[in-house]
């Protein structure tokens, strides 16, 4: 059981970091939205799929290649998120959280259903913009997979720096605690909430664009992933940004290594970890107990 070749270990570490990169980007977006809006965004997976479809449509109908889509698709999907927040989500902040859950869940169903009706359920391939790779001696590293991990890490770090180290970030953190009081300081909190939702959605869409060349572009791609991402957020600690990122990458790697040791368990190991964390520290590894 333990005589595993080193190449296999590094191979799974890489695979784990790639899955982890997607978990981290998606759970970070969820955590940002939950932190400020106190809304569990069930549409997150659909918005991720929408990002991948936006990249596919941009390529097919506008001839815009991957690198353009990487910027344009998140902007388009983020803007749609902003419209959704302004027109619908905003009306439900004052009522019980279950209504926001129902609203975002129904948005997910509408998006997925529409994509299915227009493009069918089977996956659409998207060409790898960075073919080839480099042999590192102990393993083969495809360029594109390395790019996904690096870009995802950079985006997570940038988001964390903005929130922890800048003035805007201190407004965000304060508004998470007392939005009413922050407004009395002359800060437009409703606008900040809208932009935060847009930012979280744009991160999901960007993850979708990143995923297109690795997985296929399909309407259900987000729904499958979202269940794992919710587990990641719970393990990291609801609303903790660093927790979301660290748990995202960490659990991707744990999942990858489990494939080596006991492959059948790899699809459930994250949920086993979630159960253990919930029993031992219900607020999550990096979460603060509810005030």
């Amino acid at each position: 059981m333990f005589d595993i070749p080193i190449q296999a270990i590094f191979g799974q570490l890489l695979l784990g970091s790639i899955n982890g990169a997607f978990y981290a980007l998606l759970s970070l977006g969820l955590a940002i939205i939950f932190g400020l809006l106190h809304v569990v965004n069930f549409a997150h997976g659909a918005q991720y799929a929408l990002g991948a479809f936006a990249a596919y449509l941009l390529l097919t109908y506008a001839g815009i290649p991957y690198w353009g889509a990487l910027v344009i698709a998140p902007v388009i999907v983020g803007a749609l998120g902003i419209v959704f927040e302004r027109l619908f989500l905003r009306r439900l902040y004052e009522v019980d959280g279950i209504y926001q859950l129902l609203l975002t869940f129904s948005l997910a169903l509408i998006i997925e259903g529409t994509l299915r009706a227009l493009f069918g359920s089977s996956g659409i391939p998207y060409n790898n913009p960075l073919p080839g790779g480099v042999n590192l001696g102990f393993m083969f590293l495809p360029y594109y997979r390395g790019w996904v991990v690096v870009l995802s890490l950079a985006l997570c770090l940038a988001t964390w720096l903005i929130i922890e180290k800048t003035r805007l970030g201190s407004y965000l953190r304060a508004a998470t605690e007392r939005p009413d009081l922050v407004r009395t300081f002359g800060i437009n909190v409703p606008l900040m909430i809208t932009l935060t939702y847009g930012w979280g959605v744009a991160l999901a869409a960007l993850a979708g664009v990143l995923a297109a060349p690795i997985y296929q572009v399909s309407p259900g791609m987000g729904a499958n992933l979202l269940i794992i991402v919710f587990a990641v957020v719970v393990i990291g600690g609801m609303g903790s940004l660093a927790g979301a990122v660290i748990a995202g990458f960490g659990l991707g790697i744990v999942e990858g290594l489990t494939k080596l040791v006991y492959p059948t368990a790899s699809s459930m190991v994250i949920f086993v970890v979630m159960v253990v964390v919930l029993l031992v520290k219900p607020a999550g590894i990096f979460g603060r107990e509810a005030r």
Binding site: R167, S170, Y171, R173, A174, T176, E177, R178, D180, L181, V182, R183, T184, F185, G186, I187, N188, V189, P190, R291
Partner: protein
């Protein structure tokens, strides 16, 4: 003082929580540079009046004019930009921010505020504890921080909600000195208090709020000359 036009003018102010109305037509004036106190029993509507002035009470009606501008329909952030700052009863110190971050959180909206250094000179205790988490401070220090952070913004009107509540007498005296100093600097202050002696020492005028209305108004001289009359309105 009498000839100065009111900087803050409230007329027929009505506001409430859900279907129940808490304010039934409050009317009051605060002139520039004046320190006016709202006295009254628990639940009389003092805090609700302050929250309505800063714009936190939804569905408020009547008229609130700040330097002539009608604000009854404005959002809190717009009202703040007219030069109004609010210090809530529960202080509202942010747990996720350090003392220094709490202090500089409210942005400077208008010229004329204190610099960060001046604020630290006024509150040396906060200077010593800059790096502490905001909510690790003692109650008195949190109250000082809550007042200190609205002095940088350039606000002309300060709305202070029971800054002495739950504090030791020696701290209450310090807070009183600070408020007197702010008045000398020319700030206009509307202070909510339950403590009559504290209010009478600082205020130019005192309003007594009862059942969501202003029941009486005294000048400081009248209140000091006949404290029993004011007290009788406050006792159950």
């Amino acid at each position: 003082m009498a000839e100065a036009p009111p900087l803050l003018s409230v007329r027929d102010l009505r506001a409430g929580y859900g279907p129940s109305e808490a304010l039934h037509g409050v009317a009051l004036d605060v002139r520039e540079g004046e320190l006016v106190t709202l006295l009254g029993r628990n639940g009389a509507g003092k805090t609700t009046t302050l929250r309505a002035i800063i714009g936190l009470m939804k569905g408020r009606t009547g008229s609130i004019r700040i330097d002539g501008t009608e604000t009854i329909r404005l959002a809190p952030e717009r009202i703040a930009r007219l030069g109004v700052a609010y210090c809530p009863e529960e202080r509202g110190i942010f747990a996720s921010l350090s003392v220094a971050e709490n202090l500089v959180l409210p942005p400077v909206l208008r010229p004329g505020g204190l610099s960060t250094e001046e604020v630290y000179r006024l509150f040396p205790r906060l200077d010593e504890r800059r790096a502490s988490q905001g909510t690790k401070l003692s109650g008195g220090e949190q109250q000082m921080l809550a007042i200190a952070r609205i002095l940088r913004t350039g606000a002309r009107i300060l709305l202070l909600d029971e800054p002495t509540e739950g504090l030791a007498p020696v701290i209450v005296d310090q807070i009183g000195d600070i408020i007197a100093d702010l008045k000398r600097r020319g700030l206009t202050i509307l202070l909510v208090e339950q403590n009559f002696d504290f209010a009478a020492r600082l205020a130019d005028r005192l309003y007594v709020v009862e059942n969501g209305r202003v029941a009486a108004c005294f000048t400081a001289e009248e209140a000091r000359a006949d404290p029993a009359r004011v007290q009788s309105l406050l006792s159950v």
